[in-house]
Amino acid sequence: MRTALLGKMPPLVLVTFTLFLFSCVNLKSVGEFSVTSTESLKNFEKIDYSFLQHCLDRCTDEAIRKYEIKRAQECSCELYQEADSVTQVIYNTIEGYFEGLGHLSQNELTTYSSDAVVNALTAEEFGPVQIDSRFATAFSSLSNTLLRATTDSYRRKKTAQYIEEANESMQVLLEKFEVIISTNLKGELRFKRERLYAYYMDMKMNQTVLSEYEKGQAATDYYQALEAIQRKELELEVFGESLAEIAKGHQVLYDNRNKLSVKNLQELLQEYSSHVKELVSEFNKLNN
């Protein structure tokens, strides 16, 4: 039947139809990948730790170590707050992008506004990360695209264009975000561990604790605190891994935006979506 139908088609129509099939982006796969990525990214808001929190904890640890009792804690954490601001802007940008991509690929004509992201991208405090101006332009035109993207062919074209314009910046941002989380923020916890070790070692060497019961209690307290830090480190590591997977998945989207058949793209993206889902599940177990 299919052969018979194709046989009756004029050659030009057949070529156009084939080209269309092979050039279109599989919107369902893009939509699924975007939703999974957004869900994973939103876990950032569940991470109960930040540079500022680390700085405040450090002040508390120091006050305890020195046995300083003050009416209010004196803590200078401005630069740590700055590190949080940069991280927040990067997060907002990536999350906003995938949310937009999800809406676009699923034909959800929402009142999505890209203003916050565009403002963030042009903010001075964006720091050392360089963003391609085309990316900011792609964002600012997203709201408009979403409102007009009513037909499938138009959406496909716009989705491919959106992915194309965003990929370079997305790769930079996702890599930077991963470094901040997996190396910098997680790395801060290693220092917290060492300070904890020094505190209990000093206590032991000074023979502050004398009774057997107190010794046992001190050792228990130490290992409980150590475990809590290690759990947080693992949580950050898992979140960082999911960022790397999202970046790889987006690269696949970019590489195949114009040349893959529907089935192939679905298979390729499925691998990344599944892995991100597994990491989301792992993260949630650690976060509970």
């Binding site: 680390h54 630069l79 590190a83 720091g127 190396t183 801060e188 220092f191 060492e194 070790y197």
Partner: protein, 133 residues
């Protein structure tokens, strides 16, 4: 003068982490031989070195240095040497001096004082190489 990359900042932070650990190990190994004041001084230095490592991670790519690669190589090399031998160092005064020199280097890095960084690296190297203090 150039900004440090994320990798370079991580490497530098690692050095201060391990140096803080090394000073701690030196204290615990020589606990009985250290006076109360010496122990306190080293404990403060240990904490400051750890804080420097933490600050480096938070500031990351906003840090600057002259001849970054060369400076980092020098810090890496001397840091590895100190970590490997300070625990068994018998000369308490040398331990105190090297701790103080490292502290000055840390302050120069977090203050983005490029001249201070160069001078401090030299000072750490000379302090550590000196046979008698």
């Amino acid at each position: 003068m150039a900004n440090l990359t994320s990798d370079q900042a991580k490497q530098l932070s690692d050095n201060f982490y391990y140096l803080g650990m090394a000073i701690g190990d030196f204290r615990y190994e020589n606990w009985e031989r250290l006076s109360l004041d010496e122990n306190k001084e080293l404990s403060e230095t240990q904490n400051m070195l750890l804080q420097t490592g933490e600050d480096i991670l938070a500031f990351s790519t906003t840090l600057i240095m002259d001849e970054v690669t060369e400076s980092l190589q020098k810090i890496n090399s001397i840091s590895a040497d100190i970590q490997g031998t300070i625990k068994t160092l018998r000369n308490i005064q040398k331990g105190l001096n090297i701790a103080a020199a490292l502290l000055i280097l840390g302050v120069a890095i977090t203050n983005r004082d490029t001249k201070g960084i160069g001078d401090s690296i030299k000072n750490v190297y000379e302090t550590w190489s000196s046979p008698q203090l």
